[in-house]
Symmetry: none
Subunit: 226 residues, 4 copies
Amino acid sequence: MNRNSTQAFSAPVTARGQRTRQKLVDAAEAIFGEKGYEAASIADITRKAEVALGTFYVYFPDKKTLFVEVVDNLGDRLRDELGRAVEGISDRVEVERTGLRAFFRFIQEHRLMYRVVRQAEFVDEACYRRYYQRFAEPYAHRLEAAMDEGLVRRIDPETLAWCLMGIGDFLGMRYVLWRHEKQLERALDAAMDFIEHGIVVGGPAPARKKTPSPRARRAPSRSPKT
Amino acid sequence: MNRNSTQAFSAPVTARGQRTRQKLVDAAEAIFGEKGYEAASIADITRKAEVALGTFYVYFPDKKTLFVEVVDNLGDRLRDELGRAVEGISDRVEVERTGLRAFFRFIQEHRLMYRVVRQAEFVDEACYRRYYQRFAEPYAHRLEAAMDEGLVRRIDPETLAWCLMGIGDFLGMRYVLWRHEKQLERALDAAMDFIEHGIVVGGPAPARKKTPSPRARRAPSRSPKT
Amino acid sequence: MNRNSTQAFSAPVTARGQRTRQKLVDAAEAIFGEKGYEAASIADITRKAEVALGTFYVYFPDKKTLFVEVVDNLGDRLRDELGRAVEGISDRVEVERTGLRAFFRFIQEHRLMYRVVRQAEFVDEACYRRYYQRFAEPYAHRLEAAMDEGLVRRIDPETLAWCLMGIGDFLGMRYVLWRHEKQLERALDAAMDFIEHGIVVGGPAPARKKTPSPRARRAPSRSPKT
Amino acid sequence: MNRNSTQAFSAPVTARGQRTRQKLVDAAEAIFGEKGYEAASIADITRKAEVALGTFYVYFPDKKTLFVEVVDNLGDRLRDELGRAVEGISDRVEVERTGLRAFFRFIQEHRLMYRVVRQAEFVDEACYRRYYQRFAEPYAHRLEAAMDEGLVRRIDPETLAWCLMGIGDFLGMRYVLWRHEKQLERALDAAMDFIEHGIVVGGPAPARKKTPSPRARRAPSRSPKT
DNA sequence: CATGAATGAGATTTCATTCAT
DNA sequence: AATGAATGAAATCTCATTCAT
């Protein structure tokens, strides 16, 4: 059925080739973000990149491969940008606030691309997970280090990392993607208040609590210390 | 193209018709969850529903309309289920914990359908937003009421609602969809610890802090250097 | 990669469907014969059949399947036609002559189709072999029966069948396909002369010769019996 | 489209150029045999020849031209090889046997290329006919000469040549290409028996029978029953 | 109400060929 | 002479939707 050859895929490596390839990646970023993975056609991408249709297949074996590359690129850039943003900040709370702010700025600047990631789930699940896990793991490690230094309360670091990512993601969707940016700063402050102190009224954080059995914690916080 | 919700479309209303319609909705739920919106064909759905291809168009004007109905159904059911789960619980923290747990159970039981929602963004954005806003608004109201009663610290309720939704969403993805359910309870406890008390070590929750101007907070306030 | 469903292919079975299907098969016969397998496009076939392009895929999963069906059809018809032609003829030589003549007539009437078979080798080798073997086997059996009755000299029947098929095929190519039909009858007579008596001058057929060792037969025919 | 053989095409003539050209022809031989004309791509050929894609068009104006050259080469080599094989053999029957054997050996050694010829029919019919006619004509002449010398019965030489070619072709397909080589010698003996003496039992070859009118021969002449 | 054959626009992908280097 | 990036026409195949029964 498939009379394909057995050679691996190989794309041009000259400078000119690199330029063409980049044009395609950039165009894909824009088109995927605008229309979504399925609705974006190769023709859309090559038209935007101002190359011929066939040129696409000189550089990528198929649409999915390019999509995965675009998503991975996005992840790399986001990671680098956030890393740069919080570099040198020692106050842990300030790291979170700055990181969150940098994340929102990144979304603002790559509004279209950000939407693309959600699509990845049905295109290439591995790539989808990779996108989130690439952050979650180092994030958890840094949080754990902060806990060791006494800068953050001791909470299972992995869970905490995913909670904070969820907060960032949803606020980004609500206040950046959906264009309510006037409320963004207010929301950021409110979120930081929540992240710092939680929802419980007046309670100090319990000191050394190991994750308790769920039942035992029914009445948790009314400790005299408050 | 845009025959939105004001459809001049009229479908059978007999009992038999209702049954056929339901078969289609149920089948669509399964197929959309399994394959995603684009990859799911009408033929897939009618085959699963055990009706003829043409019957689809007796009940729905097009594929998108059915998809939107499925997503809306999903949202309604989730809302109802969570509502039922926390009904009658007075302890606010317990409401959160129970709600989170009910949400995870819902995902477990509708693993495929959960994935459908993310697809909605590029199919019908209104429906996608509706899905989240339907929760966010009442949630914010209930949180505000709890604040009024002094059960929850005063934080911008809308922001808080989206933060909590983000936490639930990401933990659900990480610990339910990605099948690490053995860690689910531990993660739930850790998350509740975070939600209750935040990340800051030992500090009491500040009483009445109004959202400060962003610039003013550049350096953490307790620093005389500012 | 391939999000195909797992259901087997199923084509319409109504009378109308049968008619459409036949139109496609007939058109394919003509187009394949005219252009060859590769050069014949689905669009060519549906255009000739006067149906829409998509209709093709209602009846056949792909081009190859239709091609195989066409070749198999051709083989069936040829077999039936030759069978009918020689039915009731008792003189064995006359059977050969009549069969050859019927074969030539078949080619004349299905000139295009006949060319198709040669293409099958690269399309579906099984189908290609089937085409020839379907004849070779019963042919060899009938020849063997004729040998048992003393109507034909005893020669390995399978080899003999393939020799006779080769003769028919090449004469058909030379004198029918290549349009030298004026010479056809003369060629038929010459071929029959050869088939009946071989090329050796004056020699009677050796009576009971079992297939001798190749070396031993170096000087074969100058036996006194001649 | 029709730049047939009178090409205004000029290729490099240096020694280096000749080497490159030969690499391409050799590679094409292999690739065409393996994949068939249509499925073989220029890229396949240049990859195998270890030259750049563009180099192809330095030596050949298009794919078809190279294919025709390959087929013609094949024909030339086969003719030469068979010529060499029977050189100096005086016994006519032995010439046939040796020629057949040499043909089979040629197929064995160029198994893939043999298949190429059948493809030629739809690529370039002239080349296809040329392939067979190049043999048929000298073959017929030699047979006629043998008849003049009384070594072979007098049968229309052209017809006889095509019959013998058909026999060789079909036996080659059946017993060499389809890998039943263990039976090859036996088949060769059986075929020679048939070729020498025909199928008719015991009968002496009729002496001077001119091709009779077809109608007159309806009933075999020796049968009183008619 | 229900059916399912028919439609055709549109998507992906291949590859012979060109041409600037 | 040789290169290989770029081209775009053309082919296969899918599927939402229509409509006659």
